[in-house]
């Protein structure tokens, strides 16, 4: 199956929640529907997202889901990579939230 690659850049509004340097996390690989990788990067407070998915025609939905996630979490200076296996938009946002919780626990 041909895979489709999408990239976005987001900026949280106001104060950003920036992780300590030298940090990365691979989250929720075992769920079977989505793989999330998060790693710290100097992006002037921005969040860069790269998605690899078999689904085409839903780029605008991905953008909305991720924009909402960044706005709600105020994340910054972060690269997010998503390897998608036909997840619905809600699963994407749920797995992102779960990955973030695991990541924070990992750091804390």
């Amino acid at each position: 199956m041909a895979l489709h690659e999408i990239s976005f850049m987001f900026h949280a509004e106001g104060e950003t929640d920036i992780f300590p340097r030298e940090w990365s996390h691979t989250g929720v690989v075992g769920s079977g529907d989505l793989e999330v990788l998060m790693k710290q990067a100097d992006l002037s407070g921005g969040v860069q997202v790269k998605i690899v998915t078999p689904v085409t025609g839903f780029d605008h939905v991905w953008e909305k889901v991720l924009d909402k996630f960044v706005r709600e979490t105020n994340l910054g200076d972060l690269i997010i990579e998503i390897n998608d296996n036909n997840s619905t938009p809600f699963i994407v946002s749920m797995r992102l939230k779960q990955a973030l919780i695991e990541a924070k626990e990992g750091i804390g």
Binding site: S31, V55, F58, V61, K64, V65, N86, T88, P89, F90, I91, M94, K97, Q98, I101
Partner: protein, 554 residues
């Protein structure tokens, strides 16, 4: 008074037909399978209304195949009246021009072929009914002249044991026999002594031992291993935001993974919330294997079943406090009575659908499939004839946003009609749409109105991963539409949601998000299910549940 008018022509006709069939009778009422086609050619006349027992599960498959083999010069232009079109032979009989007209309820597996045969003019479609509507018409204007039914066993005098899968047999036989019709039964075996009599022998004219047991479909088994985290989330939301909120004690669950998840969360999450004894005590329900953990944990007082389910025989036999069983201890299902309970004795229906439109109307129809209704609309509606009160029915009615505009200051209850809906299904098919595919199907199949499963004005709640819309609380259609947008996620309908509007709906309690319900979406997890596999269900049942081979994956 007309003195020469004949008032018993139906009876005379019946006697003549039965006399003509006497050469085929071996002993008592027994006809050999080899003579089945000849028997049908003898007792069925052109233009007869014929019922081939096709239930949701049990099928008179042998007799249906025999009907396809009759001589077209002798038998033609039949009007088939039957609840379920499930087998290819049910349509072959139209392909061969033995039958011409059809009135029915449900055609799941044959829905695609049916649509094209209607288009090609091979089937003249009368109407698509709910089960109870069709049963009702059996006694009014669609009374079968000949009924071809299925039983487990018969004796030589025609007494029938339909047992576990009784389903529609009583209603079909009663309508046919008492209007001077002819009843022919195929049975798996002819025996000397029946475990019990479900249909008395003098209501049956001929019995045939079928060369093989009748076909039964295990329709209601859902493998817990396939339940997803998101289904668990929606189930938690439904339990907390609806079941607990209204204290619902008497209910029906449709078939599906969302309701299976609810059943499997009762002994875990439900117990944690202290709901045992306060919700889910009485069911009108098929014998879902996923109910076993809740039954074993003491949640359930009573279940009446529409039909049976393969593998549940021994479990039910040993749980006669819960299920309806005969003097022989085996289940007696009866679709007509559970459907009636759905209207008048149950306070809530919970099901799922394929599409919900922006007004809240829902349908499972697609442009190329004429699937029909079955029983869901009997369950998923607010029965206007109900007069007895219960707590949850009164509470739901008191919240009805438009009731005072209809009946002034008079209180009236309302049944809870709940749809659990995934905003996107597999292949990103949206669960919420601008216009239902049912409109297109109505045009293709020349139907008088789009086939809607549940109308927006009957619907009270929609549960999605994004939230619960308490649509019955809306004071106008505009407000109901806003509540639907608020929980429709990233579908086109959901994208039109206005944050300010949603905020106001949440303030008024017309929309509740998981956060409003104090449910953490990141915690929803399959591990909360009381059984995570079919094997776990067998364990819960103490080995009494005997799953069909295809569900035995260990």
């Amino acid at each position: 008074m007309e003195n020469n008018k004949v008032w018993n022509s139906l009876k005379r006709d019946r006697i003549n037909r039965i006399k003509a069939a006497i050469p085929y009778v071996e002993i008592g009422k027994v006809v050999s399978a080899d003579n089945a086609v000849s028997l049908l050619e003898t007792v069925i006349k052109p233009y007869d209304k014929v019922n081939i027992e096709g239930d949701n599960q049990k099928q008179a498959d042998f007799l249906s195949e025999c009907l396809c083999q009759v001589n077209r010069d002798r038998v033609h232009d039949l009007h088939i009246v039957q609840s379920s079109i499930a087998l290819s032979s049910h349509l072959d009989v139209f392909e061969k021009r033995i039958a011409r007209k059809m009135d029915y309820s449900f055609s799941g597996p044959q829905a695609g072929r049916m649509a094209s045969m209607i288009k090609e003019g091979k089937i003249e479609l009368g109407a698509i009914h709910t089960y109870l509507e069709l049963y009702g018409r059996y006694f009014i204007d669609l009374t079968p002249r000949v009924a071809l039914v299925a039983g487990m066993q018969a004796d030589r005098n025609g007494n029938l044991y339909t047992g576990f899968n009784t389903e529609d047999t009583p209603v079909i036989v009663e309508a046919t026999k008492f209007k001077q019709g002819i009843v022919i039964a195929q049975v798996n075996e002819i025996v000397d002594q029946l475990p019990r009599v479900d249909i008395p022998g003098d209501w049956v004219d001929f019995v045939i031992e079928s060369p093989r047991p009748f076909y039964v479909e295990p329709l209601f088994t859902r493998d817990p291993a396939l339940i997803t985290d998101v289904q668990v989330l929606r189930a938690m939301m439904a339990i907390k935001g609806i079941y607990a909120e209204y204290g619902v004690q008497r209910l029906n669950h449709g078939v599906g993974f969302d309701t299976a998840a609810i059943e499997l969360l009762l002994p875990t999450y439900g117990e944690e919330l202290g709901l045992k004894g306060k919700i889910c005590s009485y069911f009108g329900l098929n014998p879902h294997p996923t109910m076993i953990p809740a039954i074993e944990s003491g949640w359930v007082q009573n279940i009446h079943c529409f039909g049976g389910e393969n593998g549940m025989e021994n479990y039910i036999r040993e749980r006669s406090d819960i299920f309806f069983v005969g003097p022989d201890d085996s289940l007696r299902s009866n679709r007509a009575f559970t459907q009636i309970a759905g209207h008048y004795a149950l306070d809530m229906f919970v099901g799922g659908t394929l599409q919900i439109d922006k007004y809240g109307n829902s349908s499972t129809a697609t442009e190329s499939r004429v699937a029909g209704f079955g029983g869901a609309p009997n369950m998923g509606c607010d029965p206007r004839g109900r007069r007895h009160a219960s707590g949850s029915w009164l509470k739901c009615g008191s919240e009805n946003g438009i009731q005072s505009q209809l009946t002034g200051d008079l209180p009236r209850g309302k049944k809870l009609v709940v749809q659990i809906q995934e905003t996107f299904r597999e292949k990103m098919a949206p669960g919420f749409v601008e216009k239902l595919d049912a409109w297109e199907l109505a045009e293709t199949a020349k139907m008088e109105l789009p086939p809607v499963m549940i109308y927006g004005d009957d619907l009270t709640h929609i549960v999605t991963e994004e939230g619960i819309a308490y649509v019955h609380k809306a004071e106008s259609l505009a407000e109901r539409m806003a509540a639907i947008r608020a929980i429709a996620g990233y579908t086109e309908i959901g994208m039109e949601e206005k944050p300010e509007e949603t905020k106001e709906l949440r303030r008024k309690g017309i929309v509740k998000t998981p956060e409003d319900l104090d449910i953490d979406v990141t915690k929803a997890n399959r591990n909360m299910l009381a059984a995570k596999s079919v094997r776990d269900l067998v364990k819960w049942s103490g080995g009494l549940y005997n799953p069909p081979a295809r569900f035995r994956n260990w």
